[in-house]
Symmetry: C2
Subunit: 350 residues, 2 copies
């Protein structure tokens, strides 16, 4: 803490006005760039602003305005690279338009999600970017609808009848993963995911299964879906392998699943890609430096953030029309964790 510094009130618009010898209204006009101010007066105002170091108080300014220049962002968590990058992008885009981004974490709780939303409604934010915990049918989206809030849904959503949505094209990416794995000769593949994020998980699963079975009708696709938490998934995966199942490849539909799969491989002493291949949805920086590097689906964070903000501001500015549902293409990075089934000792033979 600075000790008793210049704690004197900050200059207000009236201070500027009196110093420039005009009214507060004129100062306001100068700040807004209105042309109908006599150049001479405008200059006096500018000088006064400079001398006093005046800056408008955004809160006071918003009080009088119809829409406040604040965008709310609600993410399921802040701890992952994906959402970290997302918030960074959204913040940057909001700033570019002169808005402040207020980000909050729902910590994977739908109850908290609605609470935060209510608080943002109290703040009378101009719009909200909501990355729902579950999907577009949760209580948060319902709250937004019921209260006539302006918003965009991203990430774990497909499409909605009230809000624009933007998400990664999980189905297409998963189809590509299927092509890669089947192409390498895999015929017994395990898919792991979280059932909670229903629509997204289904898209990823269907996209994968459909393509895999089309290319190799004899292929066997097993699925291990935990309801809502990661620890149960760990247990289910352990059981699956304990039963003696020996797929040659695993496709994890989300980041934590990839970590769980890796840790299960560790426990069993299996290495990628010799004993088993692995591809994960969601990339992370470490995946390219570990040995082996882990193959991953890279989500187009910038595109998602960009189009979400575009859609949001279009609505804020009064844009009409039916809600849009965008799917942004992903990139699939096949790395060393994927090989051909025959290349090493199969776990079944150990």
């Amino acid at each position: 803490m600075a000790h008793r510094q210049d704690q004197q009130r900050r200059a207000s618009i009236h201070d500027v006005a009196s110093r420039a010898g005009v009214s507060a209204a004129t100062v306001s006009k100068v700040m807004a760039g209105v042309a109908t101010v006599k150049p001479e007066n405008a200059q006096r105002v500018l000088d006064a602003i400079e001398q006093l170091g005046y800056r408008v108080d955004p809160l006071a300014s918003d009080m009088r305005r119809a829409k406040r220049r604040i965008i709310g962002a609600i993410m399921p968590e802040f701890e992952s690279e994906f959402f970290g990058q997302m918030v960074t992008q959204l913040e940057s885009l909001a700033e570019q338009r002169g808005y402040t981004l207020v980000a909050a974490s729902s910590r994977e709780s739908e109850a908290r999600e609605t609470e935060i939303l209510a608080r943002m409604h109290d703040w009378r934010v101009a719009g909200v970017v909501l990355a729902p915990v579950r999907n577009e049918h949760g209580p948060a989206a319902a709250f937004m609808k019921a209260n006539g809030m302006t918003g965009v849904l991203i990430d774990r959503v497909l499409s909605d009848d009230a809000f624009d949505t933007v998400s990664a094209d999980s189905a297409a990416a998963s189809a590509e993963v299927a092509r890669e794995l089947v192409g390498k000769g895999h015929r017994h593949i395990l898919v792991v995911g979280l059932g909670e994020q229903a629509a997204t998980v289904r898209a990823r699963l269907d996209g994968f299964r459909t393509t895999a079975l089309r290319l190799a009708p004899d292929a066997r696709i097993d699925v291990v879906l935990a309801e809502s938490d990661v620890e149960p998934l760990r247990a289910q995966l352990r059981d699956y392998f304990a039963k003696g199942e020996r797929p040659t490849a695993v496709y994890s539909l989300f980041l934590k699943g990839t970590l769980v799969a890796l840790s299960e491989f560790r426990r069993r002493g299996w290495h990628c890609p010799d004993n088993i291949s692995l591809v994960g949805f969601d990339d992370a920086e470490w995946m390219q430096v570990t040995w082996p590097a882990i193959a991953a689906v890279v989500q187009p964070v910038r595109q998602i953030a960009g189009h979400a903000m575009e859609a949001l501001f279009a609505r804020i500015e009064g844009g009409e029309g039916p809600p849009t549902a965008r799917l942004e293409p992903c990139q699939v990075l096949m790395r060393e964790s994927v090989g051909s089934p025959g290349n090493g000792p199969h776990p079944a033979n150990q």
Copy 2:
């Protein structure tokens, strides 16, 4: 976007007042929990609030208050687990006290850091938690001082003459890493870091070197410090090894350095711990599932966040006294990436 929903004005305090047959002031008192309201009237107010779904507008409420109930948080980035967890914690602690946390990323830029701070000053936040890009002597801290802002400095700081500081006890943790490595027999160790974060890096480096040399005066400690960016570090590290240097262990002073070290090991075909041992400052979830698991110093995020907020609110509530400088103890997790020098083929022998 919800299409033409109940866009009618939200209930204001006056709506509640007239419905309850009292004045706005009385409603305000009820909301504030002031005891001097006739129970009967209080009930009528409560009923009206309930019926109208009234909630106070935090902005309007703050307008009239001396201190606004907003805490600003400025982090160098949002993409890492460390700062993600930090923001999550800070948000939670601010909420507990009825404050809103507004977080912003300086994106590792001191210029941006000052801009954000100026904007937070415009918002007249009650206090700021600043995790400076460089250290406590940057322009941001100077701005806070000059403008009499209330704040706490965390992470890349040691102590300050104007603000309370809270950070991990890097020196002690580094000393422990030294004990572990020397204890395992390492006598030639490379330390990599980023020079920009001067004080913190010095503390980590000194803590390590002092202890290592005390325990093994014959040990050789090499240092590769990049000025401010990660890519130069990569190049410097490459040069270092290209010169034929063959330390038996590497201690990275920050997370990105650990990634760079791993990727350089990859490039050279070295494995941990057989060819070289590795310990990194900063833990991450993936470090315990890769093979080998990577040894790391775990920073006490919760403690740092907790004490930072404690110190901040103490100052907000008028607490006096000289600034405090807290150091929170870290945990050192020795994992498989660390072994004894003799255990495998030394890279020099390859």
